[in-house]
Symmetry: C2
Amino acid sequence: MAMRPAKGTRMKIVHSHDVPAQPVQEEGAKGATIRWLISRPEGAPNFAMRLFELEPGGSTPLHDHAWEHEVFILEGDAEVHSEKGPTRVTAGDAVLILPGERHQFRNTGQSVARFLCMIPLT
Amino acid sequence: MAMRPAKGTRMKIVHSHDVPAQPVQEEGAKGATIRWLISRPEGAPNFAMRLFELEPGGSTPLHDHAWEHEVFILEGDAEVHSEKGPTRVTAGDAVLILPGERHQFRNTGQSVARFLCMIPLT
């Protein structure tokens, strides 16, 4: 469902459950979905907000790219892996992954792990 | 507490509770604090992540500015006010406030309301 405008304004609101969860298709992803909450189609001028969900045992791909991630852990027990190994993250943690840094998120818990991941739009 | 680097990498992690909550000083703010989780000092290239907390009855100022907000409601019962009146928001809602749009967040519940608010860095 597209974001709904709030009462005759340009402001837009959507509940994350109303945004379709798409499987993360990139090679190396496992049990991972992404919901694009706010991006170009909604009118975002500069950066996008996405919600990831990882099943127990699931992970995003181990990869790197030329743009940063700003991540906020919403729920679950997870690890963020870098070239140097894993670091535990938990609900309420904010993570900055700089451009070019190799990274992967893994759900190490028994329930779904959820996190927001913001990226610049170019 | 500043973000801690993860094991010899440039990746940085901080728990939101470890970032000082500063009162929102702008006129019209009431019972509102802000934690700058990720911004220029942490190395953010393009946008910042802030965590707001509103006491019951608290609010951010009713204001507008030339940059957008991308907001994610973490907890609590709140309203986002625009020129056209209030819209209820709840945990899991994503809100896009476009540049120039007048807006205010109010906590209408009995417990603390928490939301993330991302802004571009210029």
